[in-house]
Amino acid sequence: MKWPAMGYARVDSLDGLWRALDAAGPEAQILAGGQSLLATLSFRLSEPSGLIDITRIASLKGIGVTEAALRIGALTRHADLARDPLVARHAPLLAQAAPLIAHPAIRNRGTIGGSLALADPAAELPACVVALGATIVLASRSGERRVAASDFFKGLFTTDLEPGEIVVAVEVPVATAASRQTIVEVTRRSGDYAMAGLAAVLSIQADGGVADCRLVFFGVGSGAEIAQAASAALIGQQLSDASIAAAKAALADDLDPPSDLHGGPELKRHLAGVLLARALRPFLARSEQAA
């Protein structure tokens, strides 16, 4: 379908954005990559009075690193995440996740800020930033506010964003030598949203002991689902086939998947278990992997 009639304004600074938001009123929406928003307009799922294009705001762009954190501007495209050397080094999970999102032409426009603001329950990046223990940096005309990723997502397509507030950046703690990061998912066709997926961030000591672990599922609930019990089953243990099996068993307490167009809760539970083993086995000591 063709898009509805709507207004359009382009801003090139945050001050310009606050002014445009005031002038446009509450029905206006922010346009970033447009890869979700413009598609929903085609379905006439939303009819904003107007779109305010933020893609020319320079302060929302760029990737930089400080001692403790990698700062990724909200306008960073999925394609940039996939090839940026700083991301590959300091947050390899995001570099691995990006090629799983949609198709190349969509990754050339879709942004991390848009994906986080949308909070699709089957999207990769919300789960990744929760697994990484990232901080979401928000701004409104009254200033900046920082929220832990795990507090930012509130449920199905719902976040902590207030009206008039935007995502400006994501700050990710930089990976250490002990950190292991991976993302796995099951899709019916390449590029589809996941039927089920898992973003895993572990800290594994030289002796194979798991010092820290955050397993975050997507596509199996209302958003990024932290598997507390499964993660707890691994922390303090040696990573082994036995501890992975224990984590898998603990998943029963973590997940309560709703039915969706792919199938019922049992299918999702099964996939989650398969993904857990698929994600963690590559981190086993070589001797165990061969077994």
């Binding site: 949609a102 190349p104 390449s190």
Partner: protein, 162 residues
């Protein structure tokens, strides 16, 4: 907020300035305003790839780009790619392999394939399949398309090595 906006952009090397309705996506703009009918619309919501064109050097879904947002942009369509000769060998391979039947998907498919030639000269057949997985073809069954792209990658690698 404005429902029409002035944009000046470069399309296939030529500067164009127009006042556009904000509800116009890039493909309708190219087809209706500029008479460039190579890029097609089909699904108009981002899933089929028939509308794939280049904006600022990158392949994008033309149906998910507002024409109004393109002030200052550089757009290349299949017409432009044909004129520059950048993908002449690819087009010849599509003919040789019968990789185009009804032709509806072909312009978008070629723009996606050009991306592989540009960014992944060592792509395997699996890589090619993955890369064009967002471009639907209802006629060919894809095999001939993969063959054509693979042929060109190989030929370009050989001429590179020679």
């Amino acid at each position: 907020m404005n429902r029409r906006i002035d944009v000046s952009l470069t399309v296939n090397g030529e500067k164009v300035s127009r006042s556009v309705d904000t509800r116009t996506h890039l493909i309708d703009f190219l087809r209706s305003e500029l008479g460039l009918t190579g890029a097609h619309t089909a699904c108009e919501h981002g899933v089929c790839g028939a509308c794939t064109v280049r904006v600022d050097g990158d392949a994008v879904r033309g149906c998910l780009v507002m024409a109004a947002s393109l002030d200052g942009a550089v757009v290349e369509t299949i017409e432009g790619l044909s004129d520059t000769g950048e993908i002449r060998d690819l087009q010849a391979a599509f003919v040789a392999r019968n990789a185009s039947q009804c032709g509806y998907c072909t312009p978008g498919m070629l723009v996606s394939a050009a991306d592989i030639l540009k960014h992944a000269p060592n792509a395997s057949r699996d890589d090619i399949r993955e890369h064009i997985s967002g471009n639907y073809c209802r006629c060919t069954g894809y095999q001939a398309i993969v063959d054509a792209i693979d042929d060109v990658l190989k030929a370009r690698r050989e001429s590179e090595a020679a």
